[in-house]
């Protein structure tokens, strides 16, 4: 049976006309046929993050969800090679058995979408490249990808990278794939760098009195040789009483004061060095024991999960914005947000999660301008149901867009894969 007949005979399809190729050859056959037919397709995995990005302009949907399973895990070599749509939960479970983890701390977008965990697949994470609280110390998803295999928009199976950390053979296409929202390659295989889990962790809570003090703390924390692996600011100020109540219920811990704004920073390692680092940091930040609260490992771990699950924005029906700027400009953004927005700050002062409800397009436009002026960018992660896309949900300048179009052309000349998902024309 020719590929064309096979595709038309719905061997790959379910009743909703979704294609389910089972391996890379089937992905290749399918895309080659769609290429011939000039017929674009949306690419999805387990659908956990498909709400991020623009709606694709395509007649077909290809689910890679059947391409799942661990291919090769070498704990002593610090890598794991998996089929692209292996669920993150499966990977994390296997790694955990060997006391290892994905150090970039995957964000669980399930909470903002449907109020419960849904981490989706590793291909989804790589395609979005959104890392959690540890990012400013250990890098993002892109820094943990050693190699991949996938199918480009012509149906060719291509690969890049390998399983070793030091590899300068050819262009580093793994980086390009990270954050490309499935517009370059339909991923079939991913090799990730894994790292040992830290023995333990503790989280110290400080209660700052103003924005200047917050950024002074952030700066001192990131300048210390006593390394921290997470630092967030959770504000109390908001006109939205529901949000304040939500914040207090999400971050309800025995050793954490409620109804106050706070900074939380995490120290990881063996127990002795954790104490040593905390003592050093207390001196450097000029903190007395009476000024702080400490969460032991049993509180610290769930605390950071809640941060990385974005639980304060659980099931949000508003627009959820992600802004990344250089930390030194965070103070200005905090002052702008003041108590008019629901937000929190991660990555030691440079990542902002902001909820925008009323006058959304105007506000998003203002925030995007501000993000750009501050040397960063804005992404609308989740749009409200009435969002009309009047303001683009990604940030891109003219020159970068032209170059991106050329890169897209080199992988997917007929725009078969996820057209329009990121930018118009890509």
């Amino acid at each position: 049976m020719s590929t064309k007949i096979k595709i038309n005979s719905r061997i790959f399809q379910d009743s909703n006309n979704v294609y389910y190729p089972k391996d890379e050859t089937e992905v290749s056959d399918l895309i080659r046929e769609l290429y011939k037919q000039d017929s674009p397709t949306e690419i999805i995995g387990n659908n956990s993050k498909s709400f991020i990005g623009n709606k694709t302009q395509s007649a077909n949907t290809t689910s890679l969800s059947k391409i799942s399973g661990i291919i090769d895990y070498r704990p002593e070599e610090l890598y794991i090679k998996v089929k692209a749509c292996t669920p993150i939960n499966v990977i994390e479970r296997v790694l955990s058995e060997n006391n290892q983890e994905l150090a970039f701390e995957p964000i669980d977008f399930g909470y903002i979408k449907e109020g419960k965990s849904n981490k989706g697949t590793i291909a989804g994470y790589l395609s979005c490249n959104y890392a959690g609280s540890r990012r400013f110390k250990v890098g993002s998803v892109r820094d943990h990808v050693l190699g991949f295999k996938g199918v480009n928009g012509k149906g060719d199976i291509i690969k890049s990278g390998g399983t070793v950390v030091k590899n300068v053979t050819g262009y580093d296409l793994s980086k390009l794939i990270a954050g490309s929202f499935g517009t370059l390659v339909a991923l079939t295989e991913i090799t990730l760098k894994v790292l040992p889990k830290k023995d333990s962790s503790k989280t110290v809570i400080i209660y700052p009195s103003n924005f200047e003090q917050i950024y002074d703390f952030f700066n001192k924390l990131s300048s210390s040789s006593s390394e921290i692996s997470g630092a967030v600011f959770i504000p109390e100020q908001s006109k939205d009483k529901d949000f304040v109540a939500k914040k207090n219920s999400v971050f309800k811990f025995n050793d954490l004061k409620s109804n106050v704004s706070f900074i939380a920073f995490r120290v990881e390692g063996d127990k002795i060095s954790i104490e040593e680092k905390i003592n050093n940091l207390k001196k450097e930040l000029e903190l007395n024991n009476s000024d702080i609260s400490t969460l032991d490992v049993y509180q610290s771990e769930p605390f950071w999960k809640k941060v990385n699950n974005l639980e304060v924005f659980e099931k949000t029906e508003h627009n959820l914005i992600r802004i990344v700027i250089p930390p030194a400009n965070g103070l200005k953004l905090c002052k702008y947000l003041e108590n008019n927005h629901n937000y929190f700050v991660d990555w030691c002062g440079s990542l902002f999660w902001i909820e925008v409800n009323s006058k959304k397009e105007e506000k998003i436009k203002d925030l995007k301008k501000m993000a750009k002026d501050f040397g960063g960018y804005l992404t609308v992660i989740k749009t409200s149901s009435d969002y009309d896309y009047g303001e683009a949900i990604f940030t891109v300048d003219k020159v970068r867009l032209i170059i991106s179009e050329k890169v897209k052309q080199s992988f997917d000349p007929k725009r078969i894969l996820n057209p329009g998902k990121m930018y118009r024309g890509i």
Partner: protein, 498 residues
């Protein structure tokens, strides 16, 4: 050496030399354009000095606009351009072409901004790698990637090659330590990827440029991340009675959950060579020497050292010495850093290979190399970045003996093929350049290479920027590819190479 195929020479360009030089002189200062034979000589090669070519002219622009004007002109006139940083590259990436201008970034030698609040430095590409650390070390910061040539290699070159260093397991390579670049495309377009914040949205074009060996654009500004210097750094020098026991210990250190700042292995041949050369005090009875460096807070390092000690004793180490001062730590490294010149002192010539293998395959790789050494009747010494799997076998031979030279080339090629067979790659940190160009098809098939060429074509449609590098011209898997040093006349004899 074997014949090296380079792009066909465009004789019309050679005939227009006077006119081209005149126009280039208008686009920058007359003094910044070199065209006389004696002026061009220093630029005939990079650190892969076995290959030399005289460029049409050398141009040393002073700012980004000049780079843009020059590239725009070359683009419209179909003139090839070879970019060059400090010229310390070991794979011939900056080898000139006779009908190309050599674009040197040597005048881009200023640090533009030190931003402690955002923990970054904005620098021009001609600043040396170590120059960045020197600029921030008084405040207790440093730039993490540390290629052995860091004293002389430029940060722009580091971006082009995605340079690593001995600390790359823990701290990553260049791509993990830069935040942004400004660069000029072949058509003269000036663009900026990234900045002072993390993870620019959209295609990671900075990630694509890093390691692209000067084929996609000319970097004119780099923003690098700086880190706080660790409170304590200590090293351990550990001897083992066999390759297997030492290799196992190195694997076990990693699998036990320790991420050392650096971990190096030397075989017996190299222990002897370096100890003779630098009197480093290495255990000469050992078959394999392991250097483990740990950093962090005082108690963290003490704790890790205890664990490393226990693992090494369990694997029957024959000696174990810990550094008790910074001076002693540096002395542990002195021999390792003298590995290349030490080999140079033992034979008229040596070839340095640069493959990566999975850490656990070390014993197998060394055994294979030993067999090959016997087969080709050529001595070899091995050093290995055990932390990240990067293997540098040094083959010793006499280049005046044509038969030995031929055998060395074959030997080297077989080593790199062995690396690929063991699950590794043909270059860990030196780049492909012209050196390993013909071995690319050991790793990549037609589709893979076509995709990469297609990216090149989309960003440099006329194939004018550094043509003939990285990708095989005739798609043949020939035997090429090593650093050849004759009579210890390394182009940069003072640089430690590891």
């Amino acid at each position: 050496m074997s014949e090296l195929a380079l792009p066909k020479i465009d004789s019309s360009i050679l005939n227009r030399k006077t006119e081209i030089v005149k126009i280039l002189s208008k686009l920058t200062d007359r003094e910044n354009v070199l065209s006389e034979a004696d002026e061009l000589r220093p630029y005939e090669t990079d650190a892969l000095s076995v290959y030399t070519q005289t460029p049409l002219a050398v141009v040393l622009p002073e700012n980004t606009q000049q780079v843009s004007d020059i590239l725009k002109y070359c683009h419209s006139e179909n003139i090839k351009v070879v970019p060059r940083g400090a010229g310390t590259g070991l794979s011939g990436g900056a080898l000139p072409l006779q009908d190309a201008i050599l674009l040197s970034l040597g005048k881009f030698n200023k640090i533009l901004e030190i931003d402690y609040e955002n923990k970054c430095v904005v620098t021009q590409p001609g600043v040396t790698n170590l120059g960045i650390t020197h600029a921030v070390q008084d405040k207790g910061f440093y730039y993490a990637p540390d290629p052995s040539s860091q004293l002389a290699c430029s940060i722009g070159g580091n971006v082009a090659e995605n340079s690593g260093g001995v600390h790359s397991l823990k701290y990553g390579t260049t791509t993990n330590n830069i935040l942004g670049v400004q660069m000029v495309m072949m058509d003269g377009t000036i663009c900026r990827f990234g900045g002072k914040s993390f993870d620019q949205e959209g295609y990671d074009l900075m990630g694509l440029i890093c390691g692209s060996e000067g084929l996609l654009g000319v970097v004119t500004e780099v923003t690098v991340k700086i880190l706080k210097t660790p409170e304590v750094v200590r090293a351990a020098l550990i001897g083992f009675p066999s390759i297997k026991e030492g290799g196992d210990a190195a694997s076990e250190i990693i699998s036990s959950g320790i991420v050392p700042a650096g971990m190096e292995i030397m075989d017996k041949a190299l222990i002897e060579a370096t100890d003779n050369f630098s009197k480093a005090g290495y255990p000469r009875d050992a078959e394999l020497l392991l250097i483990v460096e740990l950093d962090g807070t005082a108690s963290e390092v003490n704790e890790l050292i205890k664990k490393v000690e226990a693992i090494c004793k369990k694997n029957n180490c024959s000696s174990l010495k810990l550094s008790n001062s910074e001076k002693e730590r540096l002395s542990f490294w002195a021999g390792r850093k003298a590995a290349f010149p030490a080999c140079g002192a033992m034979a008229p010539d040596y070839y340095c290979m640069d493959g990566s293998i999975p850490r656990g395959k070390l014993a197998e790789a060394l055994l294979e190399i030993k067999k090959l050494s016997e087969k080709y009747e050529l001595p070899v010494a091995n050093c290995f970045h055990a932390g990240d799997g990067n293997l540098h076998p040094l083959i010793m031979f006499d280049g005046n003996d044509k038969e030995q030279l031929r055998k060395t080339e074959e030997f080297g090629s077989e080593i790199l093929k062995t690396c690929v067979r063991l699950g590794g790659v043909i270059t860990g940190e030196h780049g492909v350049g012209i050196e390993k160009r013909e071995l690319m098809c050991e790793m990549f098939n037609d589709n893979d290479i076509q995709q990469q060429l297609s990216i090149k074509k989309s960003l440099d449609e006329k194939n004018l920027l550094n043509p003939g590098k990285v990708y095989p011209i005739l798609r043949k898997c020939a035997e090429e590819g090593r650093v050849h040093v004759h009579k210890n006349k390394d182009k940069f004899p003072d640089l430690p190479r590891f």
